[in-house]
Symmetry: C2
């Protein structure tokens, strides 16, 4: 047992965590100042555009969303809970069997801790989002002109940062507690084993993220696609119309999918890349000798990231607030750029501060290599700057301010929906080029500088802006929801215009966030894959031209397709069920279409739609999740680690491409539609806006893009990461079967002798 000291790394981590939490609480206080419950007296705060009917309507929708989101998350978390218990048991048994009981216990504890932390993250994210969206709508309704933008933007942005900082701080502090507690049981020389156990934390986070992403993704898009199809195409009622009973389900979906899912996903990335870096670092004698603070450098990078994001967030809300439509997107982008640049500077300082001047690490390209603070700092910087570059390129391909999306919009004129789809798909394929080149450059740089450890540090560099990313990611769906609430509670058109502008910017920045998420997922997976190889002690590298490895390379690269097919079809089916339900409702009672139906009926109908999304998403999330979890497990058990190498490589390379192209295609279609709706084009046909053939063609694209960009695409990130961390955690177990050659090895040996 080691004595507990409070070294500089501990100070940094705990300090940053607490500051982040306090800041988050401060932001929440700001949100909480506004009451959303209808007051007995009329509102008195300055100029008010809200009569009591609107206030009541607002509260009604707000409550319905909150209830729907709670119901879903409760149901989802019950499933997660069961899974954690079962899988935790399996984990404990397999690790204990292949290693020691102590290893089994520690890994399982870390796994459960990670899973619970991820669930708490998702829960907090969802709660804050649901809490804030009505308030953003109200803020926009209570103000005019410049003030309207400042008030609404600040409300949405603060809500996003309340969530972002809470998540980052909690993730960081929990990991630190886990590390500190584990430290008491392990000798310094056994830190490598300890870090193996710690990687259970990443696994737990990742498993829950999988359910959150897939379940939430199916929920939100089933509702969205269903609402779109029935509203715009069949009945001809506008988006978010209060008469459409699927709208509330759609708004709930934004919270459980885009917020809770995304939060869990990014938390997973943070946890996994940290674990990968820790495992590799601790496997080297030099690093263990260098002390606790040097070992904890990966965690410190994230800690400093929180502080930087915190300081930068004042720029958006206080120093240079957003005053009009045009400034929203810019405001968010400035945030990202400032945080990226500052974290590069900070990480350089950190590396020199915490690391020894020269140390030997284990790697996969070469069995061991010499690292220096300069090299590590180079890796972190490459990741941070590369991430920024990927974000900017993603924006270019998905914002309607640039040529690609405008071309897609124009194609609606040429040949309707068909050319729109062709151009959109082509745009998605095209948009993989530069991000993949950047990613390859980051990989090459960091891999060359510090082997696998470098890749993990590059991932952490990219994720050092995590709090800002989460802020921006949360901001989008909150604005979107605010718009929906404004529409449904019958607020002035002006309010919807304001929230639409916030949402459009959110859409673009969400695309940037997706770029970050994919890029970091690719780096994290590679880092974990490298850690897996290091962990196994294979220092000859991975020969891809082995029969088994190459065959599984093919199979691995097929998995993202399989996975996407499952999730997309689920969305299609659930959306179809939604359409049928709404059509039946409208057929059953004419008053629904006229808007004169009694409140109770409307509420009951809305609940039916919510139930469809909830049931469908919970049922449909099982198959894709099982695919991702059991593919590496079964492969490793049956065919051994050389097959797993192929599987991981294939899943990674094919997943990245598919994820980027899906996300960007979907984003581009969405914004091409908005480009036409907002009449931003000079073209006379595109300028006519809604209700034209051109617009209808654009809506088809938008609808197809929904499951691509919000269900299948983002879930592929988790596919890559989860397969890799699973392999890492089960490395010992795989090795224990026939020295990592799997159960079928016997058969192959016989075949080879023919």
């Amino acid at each position: 047992m080691t004595t507990i000291t409070f070294e500089i790394a501990d100070q940094l981590i705990v300090g940053a965590g607490i500051v982040g939490l306090v800041f988050s609480y401060f932001q929440f206080g700001f949100l909480n100042k506004m009451t959303i419950k209808p007051q007995p007296t009329t509102e008195s705060s300055g100029l008010t555009m809200l009569d009591s009917k609107i206030t009541e309507g607002l509260f009604e929708v707000y409550s319905a969303i909150s209830e729907g989101a709670n119901t879903f998350l409760d149901a989802e978390y019950k499933i997660c809970g069961t899974f954690i218990a079962l899988f935790g048991g399996l984990l404990f048994c397999l690790i204990t069997w292949s290693s020691t009981m102590a290893d089994g216990i520690f890994t399982t504890v870390a796994f459960v801790t990670g899973a619970v932390t991820s669930m708490v993250s998702g829960y907090i994210g969802m709660k804050v989002a649901v809490f804030a969206n009505g308030r953003v709508a109200k803020a926009a309704a209570q103000n005019h002109g410049e003030k309207q933008y400042i008030a609404a933007f600040n409300m949405a942005f603060r809500a996003g940062s309340c969530m972002g900082f809470a998540l980052c701080s909690i993730g960081l502090l929990v990991l630190w507690v886990l590390l500190t507690v584990f430290k008491m049981w392990f000798d310094v020389s056994d830190y490598d084993m300890m870090m193996d156990c710690i990687s259970g934390y990443g696994l737990g986070g990742s498993c829950v993220a999988m359910f959150g992403r897939v379940g939430g993704g199916i929920y939100t898009k089933a509702a969205d696609v269903g609402a779109d199809l029935v509203g715009k195409c069949d009945l001809g009622i506008p988006e978010d119309d209060p008469r459409n009973p699927a709208t509330v389900a759609d708004l709930v979906g934004d919270n459980v999918g885009d917020v809770a899912g995304m939060s869990a996903d990014l938390f997973g990335s943070f946890a996994e890349s940290t674990c990968a870096a820790l495992v590799i670092a601790a496997s080297a004698q030099d690093m263990r000798d260098a002390g606790w603070s040097a070992l904890l450098l990966p965690v410190c990078v994230s800690a400093v990231g929180i502080i930087i994001c915190l300081l930068a967030s004042f720029v958006a809300t206080d120093f240079n607030p957003v005053r009009c439509k045009a400034q929203v997107e810019e405001g968010l982008k400035v945030q990202l750029i400032i945080t990226s640049l500052c974290s590069v500077a900070a990480s350089v300082v950190l590396c020199y501060m915490l690391l020894p001047t020269e140390f030997v690490l284990k790697g996969v390209a070469s069995a061991s290599f010499i690292a220096t603070p300069a090299r590590v700092a180079g890796c972190v910087s490459a990741g941070a700057l590369g991430g920024l570059a990927i974000g900017i390129v993603t924006e270019y391909y998905t914002s309607h301010s640039y040529k690609p999306v405008r071309e897609v919009a124009m194609s609606c004129k040429k040949g309707g929906a068909a050319t729109n789809i062709i151009y959109g798909l082509a745009l998605g394929y095209l948009s993989t080029i530069v991000p993949v080149i950047i990613l390859s450059a980051i990989i090459f740089t960091s891999f060359t500088l510090c082997d696998t450890y470098g890749v993990a540090m590059a991932a952490l560099g990219m994720l050092s802006t995590l709090a800002t990313c989460l802020t921006i990611d949360g901001y989008g769906p909150i604005s979107d929801n605010a718009g929906g609430i404004a529409e449904m509670s019958g607020m002035h058109e002006d309010v919807r215009d304001c929230t639409d502008a916030l949402d459009a910017a959110g859409n673009t920045t969400a695309a940037i966030g997706k770029g970050f998420a994919i890029g970091s997922a690719a780096l994290v997976s590679l880092a974990l894959y490298g850690a897996f190889v290091v962990r196994l002690g294979i220092d000859t590298g991975v020969n891809i031209l082995e029969p088994l490895t190459f065959s599984f390379l093919m199979l691995g690269s097929m998995l993202p397709y399989w996975f996407s097919a499952l999730t997309m079809k689920s969305v299609g089916e659930a959306a179809g069920a939604m359409v049928t339900e709404v059509k039946n409702q409208f057929a059953a009672d004419k008053r629904l279409f006229e808007g004169t139906a009694p409140k109770a009926l409307v509420a009951a109908n809305r609940e039916k739609c919510i139930a469809i999304s909830t049931t469908a998403s919970l049922r449909e999330m099982v198959a894709p999740s099982a695919l991702v979890i059991f593919a590496p497990l079964l492969t490793g058990t049956l065919f051994g680690v050389y097959a797993v190498f192929g599987l991981l490589t294939g899943g990674l390379v094919s997943g990245v491409q598919l994820a980027i192209s899906m996300s960007n295609t979907g984003g581009a279609w969405d914004n091409a539609k908005k480009f036409i709706e907002q009449k931003l084009s000079d073209d006379p046909e595109l300028k006519k806006g809604k209700g034209t053939d051109v617009h209808r063609a654009a809506v088809v694209g938008d609808t197809v893009g929904d499951p691509l960009k919000d269900t299948s695409g983002p879930a592929l990130n988790i596919l890559m990461k989860l397969m890799a961390i699973l392999s890492l955690v089960f490395a010992d177990y795989f090795w224990s079967i026939n020295e990592g050659r799997g159960l079928f090895n016997v058969a192959v040996t016989v075949a080879r002798r023919i």
Copy 2:
């Protein structure tokens, strides 16, 4: 200089080649019996449904198609000729510089021979198709009932086999001549160098195939999509309506894209897999010692394949002729099954006949290994049977006789075009699962049995049914064209029904053919990749976890996306131009829509449409072709062979998935539309056929699917193969730069020293 002997392998190859040519000539004679030119007297052959006006119309359309196809091919071949001259020069210089002048000369001769043979193949294919399509229409028009199907099917099938056997035989004979001529200059101990030179043959074939596939693919789909959009969507005139001026361009496209492109593609596969096998075989001392016949086993497998296909073709046309709609698809499938099974048997005999009982080969999984006839026969069988299995699975996913396509058709009802697209994309993703599993199993089996040589032999096994595949592939577009001609020359509806049934079956079998093409392309690429590694003498395998290799793995897997984006956008743009042109024509003269315009105007308008397709496809084929050709060349030159390893691996694994999903998605949409049009469903809404909202939704899917299944998807095959054979041919050159480490290695070395 070796004395020329005429060994058993020579006898087999020359014999099979000559028999194939004679058979092809005999089939041509059958076609030639029917005159297509309007006769001064009325037709006298039995019951005739043709008045002189129809006969004249038939001849007119027939001539227009023939002329259009000639014009395009002439223009395309001019570009090819220039390319061959320039690239041949480059090849000569680089090979001479890195090796010897003799090597340079031989490789360049082989390259030019391969390129010219491929051009001749495409030319013959196109000529036969153009020659036959009018005759198929006439055969259908001159007969009734059962006789109509027998006559029309036989005519189309004979045309297909005329083309298929001519191509296979020519390819085989030319390669044999090349081998025999080269043999006079090389010592037996230098056969490895000789085979390196021979691989220029594959490169030449592949380069021309690239232009043919991409150029032809863009041509045919620009015309098809353009004609569809303008006809069905905007003006509401049916498919192949004589008033639509884009129809002739569409019909020309079927010939230059689906026939000439496909012919060149499959010829390339044959040439490349043979070259891969020859290079690996000749690199082993044991194999060179075993003699010329053992060395030529790969060529013999193809030779025997011709004979088997020939015998099997009598089953379709004579023993068990097709008598009605339902039998068409079955007839074609039986062909494939018979040929696959027989070639397995024949290849086993061949291996035992030609190979020594035990011999040592060079490999990549292990530096050298012992092979036996049984093992080699196992590889060939795995390829042949696996190919068949892939074909059958592909059919399941693309024929409207099964659930997947019917589900896609039903989805048109649920939510229109949007759900159709979502379901179609999901189907394509889903359809990768089983083919990739089969492919992995083939790779694993053949790789385990005989390393790279085994993979090459598996590819040849899959291609042993080449003549049948080409027959079926040719048959489809010929029937399609016959239908178009029947429609345009105003033949009886009954004729169109017959050709439609032939075409629908052709569509499904074309999908099977695409499955074969993708599967064989994957095996061929892997075999070439393996040959490349063997050629370089690297016997430590390829460590994928090298910074450079992994970075280029990412880049390589991005290339198929880049390539697809370019080709799809080209189709979209050319189709848009076509739509604009047709709309302008109709706006300029009302008589066009009424069908009363003077003949000269109609002809002139049609020519304008043909010109649009021709110009667009020739302009647009340059960028994607350049991408594929220069990507490995530049990578090798700048970053060295370890980067090329990554590039090839990435392009292969990502290309296979994308190609399968694109082809099947497109095929499924096409047949879902046909399922609705032919009123085959029990569902009341789907049964209404054309003109409904459901049908319009299906048409959107079909239109989007066109460039996926006929332009981008199939061209990806060539991307994989061409990159691999380029690397193989330039192996020496790559190695000559800094020992295969490329020009940038210096910079990296410096960076590593930081």
